[in-house]
Symmetry: D2
Subunit: 348 residues, 4 copies
Amino acid sequence: MTISVAVSGASGYAGGELLRLLSNHPQVSIGAITAHSNAGSRLGALQPHLHSLSDRLLEETTAANLSGHDVVFLALPHGASAELAAQLPAETLVIDAGADHRLEDPAAWKAFYGSEHSGSWPYGLPELPGQREKLRGSKRIAVPGCYPTGSLLALAPGFAAGMLLPEDVVIVSASGTSGAGKSLKANLLGSEVIGSMSPYGVGGGHRHTPEIEQGLSQVAGEAVTISFTPTLAPMSRGILTTATVKVAPQLVKGGNVAEELRQIWAEAYQDEPFIHLLPEGQWPATQSVYGSNHVALQLAFDEHAGRLVICAVIDNLTKGTAGGAVQSMNIALGLEETLGLGQQGVAP
Amino acid sequence: MTISVAVSGASGYAGGELLRLLSNHPQVSIGAITAHSNAGSRLGALQPHLHSLSDRLLEETTAANLSGHDVVFLALPHGASAELAAQLPAETLVIDAGADHRLEDPAAWKAFYGSEHSGSWPYGLPELPGQREKLRGSKRIAVPGCYPTGSLLALAPGFAAGMLLPEDVVIVSASGTSGAGKSLKANLLGSEVIGSMSPYGVGGGHRHTPEIEQGLSQVAGEAVTISFTPTLAPMSRGILTTATVKVAPQLVKGGNVAEELRQIWAEAYQDEPFIHLLPEGQWPATQSVYGSNHVALQLAFDEHAGRLVICAVIDNLTKGTAGGAVQSMNIALGLEETLGLGQQGVAP
Amino acid sequence: MTISVAVSGASGYAGGELLRLLSNHPQVSIGAITAHSNAGSRLGALQPHLHSLSDRLLEETTAANLSGHDVVFLALPHGASAELAAQLPAETLVIDAGADHRLEDPAAWKAFYGSEHSGSWPYGLPELPGQREKLRGSKRIAVPGCYPTGSLLALAPGFAAGMLLPEDVVIVSASGTSGAGKSLKANLLGSEVIGSMSPYGVGGGHRHTPEIEQGLSQVAGEAVTISFTPTLAPMSRGILTTATVKVAPQLVKGGNVAEELRQIWAEAYQDEPFIHLLPEGQWPATQSVYGSNHVALQLAFDEHAGRLVICAVIDNLTKGTAGGAVQSMNIALGLEETLGLGQQGVAP
Amino acid sequence: MTISVAVSGASGYAGGELLRLLSNHPQVSIGAITAHSNAGSRLGALQPHLHSLSDRLLEETTAANLSGHDVVFLALPHGASAELAAQLPAETLVIDAGADHRLEDPAAWKAFYGSEHSGSWPYGLPELPGQREKLRGSKRIAVPGCYPTGSLLALAPGFAAGMLLPEDVVIVSASGTSGAGKSLKANLLGSEVIGSMSPYGVGGGHRHTPEIEQGLSQVAGEAVTISFTPTLAPMSRGILTTATVKVAPQLVKGGNVAEELRQIWAEAYQDEPFIHLLPEGQWPATQSVYGSNHVALQLAFDEHAGRLVICAVIDNLTKGTAGGAVQSMNIALGLEETLGLGQQGVAP
């Protein structure tokens, strides 16, 4: 079976990564490749790393150009996906790598994005409890944000097991610059980011905050509140998530807290092909997942501070965007989940 | 008045930075420059950026070679300073950039360093309440660790004002690789650190943890407990400290919490020559303090999460080590505090 | 058909890259993975990016452990391969990623490596004229050095066409730090290489100099002399080769020199799956071949200086080492040449 | 004596570096700070590393605002300086960090810049033979381009001594991204430049080519032709110049060519405060001159290739722009040449 796919937003980083992965997928045939202001250009002029596709021309991002494929990937700025998706056939699998269909709560959408809510689609993070089933056969999938992917995978097992307190979760994430996209902003110039770390969206204002809370709350079965601080790191790819959370008193009363907690994460992820709880004492580096759909994590219980600390690394463009999208496509279409995603990380 | 200084550990990063700053100090004359295994080498072979000192030869690090100067800087591995310092005249100003004399609690020292405690010296962080006075005329000064410098300056004003809760402080810091020194470890190779973020010492194990708690507890007047996670960032210099803390209920009951908190930090640092609370909305980047003794910080109150977030940037080698040492020397000797430290950050 | 392979030197960067590529190869089964001082370790502790192989244990690098496979890859320091190879069965395909069997001239070997010559093997750069045929069915293959791969692919078409003068070739290459391997040297520490460019082996002393001259001379049919300067760039992977050369007077006499030269390169590489002459005006960046076996190049004729300038980019670990090795294996075994090497570059 | 200075173009990288250096200059008082589109902004919002000047407001770049100072620095795009300079009093020292007044040949200007020539001013590279004298008392100075600074300092001694052949000079330079300024171009985004080397302006098209040839030709006393290839390196500052050149036959006939050549450079620079010929065997790294006005260089004679190779490192913003400008100001005003420029490099 060959699956025909179309990719919109192909001149951006998310679009480029989708094409990189899809061109390695053994059952995929890449159809329309579309863009907005770059329509008409050779792909090779914009994404010179996609050697096998360099002579392909970018078409205009329109429903007409995207129609007629088995799968359509949307890698568009938020606000642009919903309108386009509405024009695509119901039987087409539409996978939105943008934000438009992630939040279920219209008020949260309105508060953080300022526009009308477009409704929510099944959330493409199959490693969350019960989530994989919701993706099978689905025709609409919302790909999680990059920060939420790292944060939810770091914390979900403990919340699912009822072992963590829902308040006072503190998450600090360091992201590579590609997470900010290809937009021409002075603070994203190489001269500005090389050799520099800086925070942004501090104090709860980042748009991924309600998305992380939504996911954790669903897993926990109660409202979870987080303090989330994203920072920009001098690297092009990768997110290191450092999440600290208080453990429930009933657990602390028990015996070997650290061992019990470790067991919970180990069991939650033992059959996951992309999630790796590292051996004790080994801490993850973003380099180890560079260009791959893998996630590596480790945890430590700080008895003195009464907090569990989980560190998780992902590639923001792969597992955090395009890899998660392809993984979700595989599940939705009933393919082997890891198809086309077998690559290891690229290191050093 | 010319002050003669000796610098030990001159082949390492801290020693090199001390020499960089001292060679720019208008009242300092650099005497003995000493090292351990590199004794006998030209300084230019080891620190090629110190152009005006390149032909100086490194002497052996001995009490005899260090004696006879007005000031002796020790930039040695922990454990090495105490023995050497004991052999130096009581009237010599000895400034220890290492860890040996920072912790006041012998039990904490033993727990984190594993050896016998060497006693504590006045702590060279003059911006802490009351601390500047303790340094005037002192003949022994312990330079704070680099992470504690960033963390304490971020949090001290709020604790001094009684506005922060002493439990549940969460600090995540990202440091450049020079903080790990020049030791030949595989994880510090350029190929490993370029393009990669990684945590270490997670779960309360980093040796700077008790030092941060000591400083915060003294300022707060009660025991402060922190969760501290250091991470390694792909840059040679700089620390971004992200500290989050709960504000005291009596404050939250008040009116404009964010404004009140901002006022506290603004007043605490209004006369400090090196500490800069940025205008509202502007967040600091480590690049802005590169190579300088300056500290830039910003804060935001996250009402939803009930937490105050403070981000502070320092250069780990300058304000975090050698700059702090020179600043302390200036105070101890009654010189103008900023002498020799006037440089701006080097950016971009 | 499943091909069993063994990889020695698996704890180093070249060995890790071989395993990364081989684990993606559809017809390869990875047998023994061996190392020297790291024998007995989990692979995941040393190469955490090789997720699917993380639980494999490293065996000792001995002929006995390597025997019994269809293909043996040697990724060892020079001097170590020859002895080991001599103990492997003649019918085993042995691919040496080290230097031992690259140079044909014993005097050149002696002059640059200081030891006795081990003889030469077919050179694994199939894009050189006539070279692909020499690799088919071969049981011994010497993988080219990383700098020679970039330099030879940049210059070979012009020399093969007799259009370039054999003297006064000047090559300046910038390499990522992984080219220097995982050895613990102070100048390879992250703190030293981040933010810094530096030359080394200047003046003709680098060991890849005679290898480049050997390749160019064979293609040109006369002795070619080069000035080669390698430099270390602050990135983990990639080589940018800048080669300048004088064009033969008979060519300059002709009409449109630039166009004629362009035509020569275009024709030489038109059927090569991994070599891409970019459209006029587009210059290559090493990022575009990151983690891939592709090569991108561009040329310009500088009429004023009378020189042709060719810039070529490769990934030193992929096309420059492990990718070239796998490509050669495919050819030697009669497989499709691109098998297991289909990946695009990983960018940004 | 206090010298009042005005700095235009203060929101860019060259303007920022001028302000950084001038704020450390003991005899300088900084007057007007001007910009174009950023007029009205706080300097701290644009140049957050200039802590002592952060509250200064940017004025409009007009002759009226710049007038009334002893010295005016122009850090403007080419084409903008000439018109402005014409409106400034003849007795004001005007130092142009832009390109407008560097080239003496109107035809070269026209060919490379496309506009009418504005005439040339004394060239602010005092280390060239006889050049220092031309700057004393001068009221108009053209600051050399960053690439020419590195190239001319690398090659001048040999050409001045008549030991180098004027044809077939090959220069390949690697520059940090700040050399490209703060303009918002996609290829300058952090995501694009991190981990990547790329060439540009290949084949003789870079505007610094005629400037380098002009300087070398004046020193040599005959027309010198160069092949110049600039490349962009993943670092914010620094230029590594690799220059190779053929030595004159009469020299090669002599005895110890390498030693004779070394002697020429050693003598040429023995009294220069900022130029350092490193001890034999030590090669320069750009890190060693980071943020400083120093230049480090080394040379090697490649007997096999018949070429001399010189590698020189500068900081493109300091010695390559603003430092060179301040040094020239000191000379023009009769101050000590090194005043305000005493800083060592900032490393690691």
